[in-house]
């Protein structure tokens, strides 16, 4: 044997830094510094020392509101975020639970300062009080969560579902009609479910059986549902007695859960709601469990990732896809029912006003995972609830406020969620030669 060179060298690798990790660290630090700068800007510009808040109950002549001293609050928040930035710079923010919690704290601190800022220094006679945004959040988020669950189910199985909006519309309309006919809001939910399944069946038939491009198909189904519900709505004569039977449904009543609904801050928001909201909680648990802990869920994910591999172990790819898409219809239809029996009552044209697409965004922001998608939907709900409140305050143009959740989404997804990867076979029909 002839050794040309021997290159055994001592281990010098422990001090070496991973470039990707460094990059992440820099990104995180810069963002946190920016956030703290904004908070310090709030602190600097607020003149008014006091802002009032009321977190539960109605505002009456006698209620005594809570009081926030703006300067200490904003200053503390600013320092907290600054500390987080320093921690990030020192590399203490690795992946893991502590980082997640710190980021959550930073987010909440920012929101708090933002709201305080928005309510301070107002040049009006009767100063508005900060109210609890959470009850609104859960109400608005319920259909979004249900729609997002439907999206997750379809796309995990490899069928793109752009038609959530269509399912919402059909669900809303038929929930209203069925509830009006039977005079039962509960039966209305059933009507919504059936309508949701109906649109799902069309999605499945054309995408799985006839291999139509699924994005185009989804858009077509939305337009179809719009047209259909508008048409049927116009067919209802403008006669009060007939209308009462067709489009004046009873609404779902709030059910307060004893004990839980008394929890401060979140009790009213989470546990004094309609049956639909409780069904939504159950649906989140159910879908998450089914998708990750059952045989059927494993197969659903397999056909969405690598249908051919699923086929080679004897799984009927098309059958599983059909099942997943139909099940998704149940949740999307329920979500649609919110827009009639769950909130306003009778059906108006475009009752869901594009929220189906926001549910779709929640699917993507939640990385096709039912739990994360639920959080994303709740986040959108919080933003839209805040927007409703802040639009009364008139300090920031409401168009700008409407935009912020989506801006926040883009920043969050681009910066920190990391590479978002859809199921590998999402949108690809399975054909055998």
């Amino acid at each position: 044997m002839s050794t040309v060179t021997s290159l055994r060298t001592p281990d010098a690798t422990d001090t070496v830094r991973d470039p990707a990790e460094m990059q992440r660290r820099v990104k995180l630090t810069v963002t946190l510094l920016l956030v703290s700068a904004i908070i310090f800007y709030f602190w600097w510009t607020i003149d008014d020392e006091q802002v009032f808040y009321l977190l539960s109950g109605e505002r009456t002549r006698d209620t005594v509101p809570g009081e926030i001293s703006t300067h200490p609050v904003t200053l503390t928040c600013g320092i907290v975020v600054l500390v987080a930035a320093v921690a990030a710079a020192l590399g203490l923010m690795r992946h893991g639970a502590t980082t997640l919690i710190s980021m959550l704290v930073v987010g909440l601190a920012f929101l708090l300062c933002f709201v305080v800022w928005a309510y301070s220094d107002l040049d009006v006679a009767f100063k508005p009080w900060i109210t609890n945004p959470l009850p609104g959040t859960f109400a608005v988020a319920t259909p979004l969560v249900l729609g997002a669950l439907a999206g997750c189910l379809c796309e995990r199985a490899g069928v793109i579902n752009v038609a959530i909006e269509g399912q919402f519309l059909a669900g809303a309309f038929f929930a209203s009609v069925v509830a009006s006919l039977t005079y039962s809001a509960g039966a209305g939910l059933l009507g919504g479910i059936i309508a949701g399944i109906g649109i799902s069946a069309m999605l499945a038939l054309f995408s799985i059986r006839y291999l139509v491009n699924q994005v185009v198909l989804g858009v077509v189904l939305v337009v179809f549902a719009q047209g259909l519900t508008n048409f049927l709505l116009d067919q209802i004569p403008n006669d009060a007695t007939i209308k009462a039977y067709l489009n004046e449904p009873p609404k779902l009543q709030d059910i307060a859960i004893p004990g839980l609904s008394d929890i401060p801050l979140i009790g009213e928001a989470m546990f004094d709601q309609t049956i639909l909201v409780y069904l939504m909680y159950a649906a989140v648990v159910f879908v998450t469990f089914v998708m990750f802990e059952t045989r059927w869920g494993l197969r659903v994910r397999a056909v969405g990732e690598h249908p051919k591999a699923a086929d080679t172990v004897g799984i009927k790819v098309r059958r599983i896809r059909w099942q997943a898409v139909l099940l998704a219809g149940v949740f999307a239809g329920l979500g649609g029912a919110y827009y009639t029996v769950g909130s306003t009552g009778s059906f108006d044209k475009n009752a869901s006003s594009g929220n189906g697409f926001i549910a779709l965004a929640a699917v993507i922001m939640g990385r096709w995972h039912p739990l994360w998608a639920t959080f994303a939907a709740l986040f959108f709900g919080l933003m839209s609830s805040l927007r409703n409140q802040l639009s009364l305050v008139d300090k920031i143009p409401s168009e700008l406020l409407t935009m912020t959740p989506y801006l926040a989404t883009v920043v969050a997804v681009a910066g920190f969620v990391g590479r978002v990867r859809p199921p590998a076979a999402d949108g690809e029909p399975y054909v055998k030669s």
């Binding site: 044997m1 002839s2 050794t3 040309v4 060179t5 021997s6 290159l7 055994r8 060298t9 001592p10 281990d11 010098a12 690798t13 070496v16 830094r17 991973d18 470039p19 990707a20 990790e21 802990e293 059952t294 045989r295 059927w296 494993l298 197969r299 994910r301 397999a302 990732e305 690598h306 051919k308 591999a309 699923a310 086929d311 080679t312 172990v313 004897g314 799984i315 009927k316 590998a424 055998k432 030669s433």
Partner: protein, 529 residues
């Protein structure tokens, strides 16, 4: 179970991939299928397994006609298959992949992951194929994925087992292990169809050999036939199994790597302080068991990952911070180890894939548009020159046989002026005739004055091509030796030992046998990779 194929025919459009094939596999027989790339072996097996519908002919099981419309039917009839293109879900764990389709449940369809993992461990112990049930398949190197694919098929206790090139990415020790598994299955009466391009394996384990050429059976023979005879039968001409090459005419240092350290995706150090150089006109072979940092080393050379420290110089200029495009433009050619992932776009045509990293050159572009004419001429030449068996230059690469896909990549990379060629497993899954050809082309490239780096787990290939051999173990280059070293000595080096016989202390703790040591080790680095 006796399996009989009668007149099975498959056409893709006007092209006949299988032309009235007859074959009988007796119970307890290992039946080897030999044939060039694109001969139609995988097509035949896919028909047997219900993945493709035959156009004519029938399959008989124990004399009774059987029809497999889906793989589910074939599985039910007792047929199992190891697929050449792995049928694994990348985002699933090893255990999930193995249980898929016959899931262990606790009733009500709730998965029982613990028992699935236990089964994987049991199988892995029984067949001595080390896998970790909890790791994600996408994080595993191809060698380990192959083990998973084999275990998946074995878990079904099939009566007829089809093995479509299971050894292409296994280490020599693993191949020995697989051979003994096949042997014991044969003794239990399992019929096995074994497809491989390695004649040594056919001779070692086969009972009967059928040779297929261009979709037709051209003959059967016994494993006692000599390797050159078998090769000739497959290819239809005489084949040199080892290429002739002259002493290298070595020039200046072309590629110089100094103290390179790379951190893997899991944050562990996978390449540790590696230094070597390659001179113009020489071939440096990098030998080593799969998963010892070769993959990451090559990725760093290509600019696919940024090294954590150290320097890479091309003809004296530092390129450590270049991205892949700049690296390619500097004149480095790259044949990736995982061709389907890094080598081509499978839905693109052969013609397009042949200019995948050349399309910006003046030759193939006209302003912002592609020069279709030049691409066509180029494709004609390459297909001819590299004997790429394809229906036309416009068929998509996904429709090519595995070996022909490899040839597309090799043809593309060797069709431009190179300073350095980096080839990972350049002949993986390629038939003997094409190995001869690719080896000749690599040696010719060397003689043109290109510095060549060959990364291979195949010792035959390392010895056939290298002018110097670097051995990698645990992310380090443990030694650089000349190719007249003994096979056994290099085997020891690859296992982390010392060529003089004294293995490194931590590796000696086990049975001391190289095979056991490397297999176990491979698994560990695989997890880190």
């Amino acid at each position: 179970m006796q399996l009989e194929i009668r007149g099975l025919t498959k056409r893709f459009g006007t092209f006949t991939a299988n032309d009235h094939i007859d074959l009988t596999i007796e119970p307890g027989e290992i039946h080897c299928l030999l044939g060039e790339n694109g001969a139609g072996k995988s097509t035949l097996m896919n028909m047997l397994y219900g993945l493709l519908d035959p156009d004519e002919g029938q399959v008989l099981l124990d004399g009774k006609p059987a029809k497999f419309a889906t793989p589910g039917d074939a599985i039910e009839a007792g047929i199992g298959m190891v697929h050449q293109h792995f049928m694994l879900v990348p985002v699933f764990t090893v255990a999930e992949n193995i249980m898929l389709g016959r899931e262990q449940t606790r009733g009500l369809g709730v998965l029982n992951r613990a028992s699935a993992a236990a089964l994987v461990r049991e199988l892995s112990d029984k067949y001595k194929l080390a896998v970790d049930p909890a790791s994600l398949v996408q994080d595993l190197p191809v060698g380990v994925q192959q083990r998973v694919e084999i275990l998946k098929a074995l878990a079904n206790n099939a009566e007829v087992l089809i093995l479509d090139e299971p050894t292409a990415v296994l280490t020599p020790q693993e191949i020995d292990e697989l051979m003994s598994i096949m042997d014991s299955l044969r003794n239990n009466g399992t019929s096995i169809v074994f497809i491989t391009h390695k004649l040594r394996e056919v001779k070692a384990i086969g009972d009967k050999i059928t040779v297929i050429r261009r979709g037709k059976v051209v003959g059967t023979t016994e494993p006692t036939a000599s390797e050159p005879d078998l090769a000739e039968m497959m290819v239809g001409r005489g084949v040199k199994l080892v290429v002739d090459k002259d002493e290298p005419e070595v020039g200046d240092v072309a590629l110089d790597v100094k103290n390179l350290t790379v951190i893997g995706t899991r944050g562990t150090t996978v390449v540790r302080n590696v230094s070597f150089d390659v001179r113009a006109g020489e071939i440096l072979g990098i030998a080593g068991v799969q998963g010892n940092g070769q993959t990451e080393l090559v990725k760093a050379l290509l600019g696919l990952v940024r090294p954590a420290s150290g320097q890479i110089q091309l003809e004296g200029r530092t390129i450590s911070r270049h991205g892949p495009r700049q690296v390619l433009e500097e004149g480095i050619g790259y044949i990736p180890e995982d061709r389907s992932h890094d080598g081509f776009v499978s839905s693109f045509s052969v013609r397009e894939n042949l200019v995948l990293d050349l399309y910006k050159h003046d030759e193939f572009s006209r302003g912002l548009a592609l020069n279709q004419q030049a691409m066509t001429t180029n494709a004609q030449q390459r297909i001819e020159e590299f004997d790429i068996r394809t229906q036309s230059m416009n068929s998509s690469v996904s429709a090519l046989s595995g070996g022909n896909q490899q040839k597309v990549v090799v043809a593309r990379e060797l069709s431009r002026r190179l300073k350095v060629l980096i080839a990972s497993q350049p002949t993986r899954g390629v038939d003997v005739g094409s190995i001869e050809f690719i080896h000749q082309r690599i040696v010719a490239e060397r003689d043109k004055g290109t510095a060549v780096v060959i990364v291979s787990t195949e010792l035959d290939e390392i010895f056939a091509l290298s002018d110097r051999i670097a051995v990698m173990y645990d992310g380090r280059i443990v030694d650089i030796v000349s190719p007249d070293i003994l096979r056994d000595e290099i085997g020891l080096l690859m296992a982390g030992g010392d060529a003089k016989g004294a293995a490194a202390p931590e590796e000696r703790s086990g049975s001391g046998a190289t095979a056991a040591g490397t297999a176990g080790f491979d698994e560990e680095t695989a997890k880190n990779a």
